[in-house]
Every structure is written in C-alpha cells, then in structure tokens.
Symmetry: C2
Subunit: 156 residues, 2 copies
DNA sequence: ACGATTTAGATGTTGCGGCATGTATGTCAC
DNA sequence: GTGACATACATGCCGCAACATCTAAATCGT
C-alpha cells in the first residue's frame, strides 16, 4: 500500500468516524449531521437560497439540498418563501426555534472539535492542512470550503 | 474556523470527492465503491467470513457487510457457503468472473491513486500521514486499516 | 413579442451507512 | 444435559449522496 492509497483510506476512516460521532452528538437534538450543518449555515447566512446553501455545503454541485431543507422546514426550524423578485428562488430563513437549535448544533460541533483536538494532541497540523487544502482546492467541494472560510473571516 | 474544524471539513470534502471519482471509475464495471472494495478484499483473502470482511472494511463494527455481499453474490462474483464446522459462518470465495472483476477494480484504484498523486504533486505526504494515522488509531475503522496493512505487508 | 436557452428548485431512484432487532448456531457453567 | 450467554449473520428502518429527469420561471437573441 503506497502513500496515496493509505491517505485515501485514512481519509475515509476518519470521515466515517467523525460523522458517526457528530451524529451521536446531534441525536438528542433530533438532527442528522447533514441537517445540522445546513441549519447552522442558514442561521449564519440567512436569508439565503437553496443554491447558495448548496454552494456552501460540501456536496456535489448539481445536487441541491432541497430535501434536507424539507426536514428542517417540517421541524419548524427553517422557513421557506418564494422570492417575489425571482419566483424561482426560495428565501431560507431561520425561525426562533431554529436559531436556538443552531446554537446547540454549534455547541455539539465545539465538543466534537475538542475530541478531535485531543486526538491531535501536540502534533503539528499545518503540514497536513497544507497538503489537504491543496488537494481539495482542485474540485468544487474543496472550493465550497474556501468560500465558507472567506465568509466567516469577515464575521466577528 | 480553527485548525481542527478545517481539518474536519477538508477530510469530508476529500472523502466525498474521492468516493465520487472512484464510483465514476467503477461504473463501467457495474460496481459501487463499497462493492469494489469488498470484492477486492475477498479476492485477496479468500476464503473469509463476513465477519472477517467486516473487520477489514472501513465501516462501523457491529455492522456486517452481508448486504453488500448479497449484491456481489447476485452478480455471480462471489460464492457463499455455510461452513460445515461452524454453521453460523459463511465462507466467502470468489468466482472466476469475480477474480477477473477484482483485477479490473484494482486497475481503477491504481488510476484513482494516480490522479490523487498528481494532486499531491511533490509535496511531502509523511507529516500528514503521521497525523492522520495517529488520529485514526484511536478507533475501530482506523485499526481496520492497520490490520489490512499488516496482512498485505506479508504478500509479495 | 416570441421561441430557445438557462436557471432554481423539486422529485424519483438506487445503494449505502448506521442503528436496532431477530434468528440460528455454538459455547459455557453448573 | 439444560439453561444462560455469546457469536455470526440477516433484515427492517431511516436519512443521505449521487445521478437523472422534470417543471416553472427568468433571460436572451432576434
């Protein structure tokens, strides 16, 4: 097994485990990782469209998150209204309940990141980040991430 | 966004994209990534049990890959027979067609790794591997990987 | 103004991961 | 030997990712 192959499997294993733990943390909130991430993004960037959300979520371009938002709307966390200026678009906003829940999601994320930070320990992260960033920069999902960082960099 | 959080998202993004490309490469073979990985492992380690396979696959322990093997068996790539010594166990072996297909899977994997190697370029991978390995070592999916490396290290 | 193209989103389908549960077989204590 | 437990696997369920396809609304060229 060469380096690249091992890297591939490590990434797979870590993603699965991270997702599993994130899911476990979110379960009391009755949210899945996908829902939690979407809710959190909507709360931060509202009002936004489904397309805008899809551009920030790490998922295939061309796939829009309408069904994830379906569930958030059904749970009363997100409101959908068609934009009167462009009736194709849907304006996503967060309800008070949704804002509250988004804060809880953030707490779960912090906890998860704390666990991960423990696994990292005192090892340097920069070399790994540099490598992964440069790999991810070559495709849409990676650029979604860059977009998110640019957006949050301007917030306090 | 701190380092750990960015690392988490990068891993998610890279896993998704890698999976997407792997799926694209396997599509002509009529296999999904999960099926391809399972078939490849069975071909390498046959005869093996479902549990043994589950231990090498990067998936949650407690979940066994019986349904993935279902499809491989339905496609005539894998044979299942109950072990007469322990009738709970299923002996998995590969059919000639399956062996052939496994070789094709391997070719697709090589191609994928080639693409990834291009993304890596001349950057050093060791620091990233060290970090990710040490993180993955803390949970089952990561140890599945170690197990696989130990097994393949003995093969020519 | 009108038809062609583009865009935003909805929806159907497939296979998968994870969790829970069920069932059969083997093992162990006594 | 019999009952309690453990193990190996199967299966039902949910939500998701990816792909394809569809509808409606906007935009563009002429």
């Amino acid at each position: 097994m060469n380096d690249v192959e091992e890297l591939r499997y490590l990434i797979l294993a870590l993603q699965r485990e991270g997702n599993r733990r994130f899911a476990a943390g979110l379960r009391p909130l009755d949210l899945t990782p996908a829902q939690g991430e979407a809710l959190s993004l909507i709360a931060t960037h509202e009002p936004m469209t489904l397309n805008g959300l899809g551009g920030l979520l790490v998922c295939d371009s061309g796939t829009n998150p309408s069904r994830i938002v379906d569930r958030l709307a059904a749970s009363g966390l997100v409101e959908r209204e068609t934009d009167p200026d462009d009736r194709r678009q849907v304006r996503l906003t967060v309800t008070p309940l949704g804002r509250d829940r988004a804060a809880q999601v953030h707490a779960v994320e912090d906890e998860l990141d704390g666990m991960l930070a423990e696994l990292v320990g005192d090892q340097p992260t920069e070399p790994a980040l540099t490598l992964l960033r440069s790999m991810a920069a070559h495709f849409p999902a990676g650029r979604a991430l860059q977009r998110r960082q640019q957006l949050t960099a301007h917030s306090p």
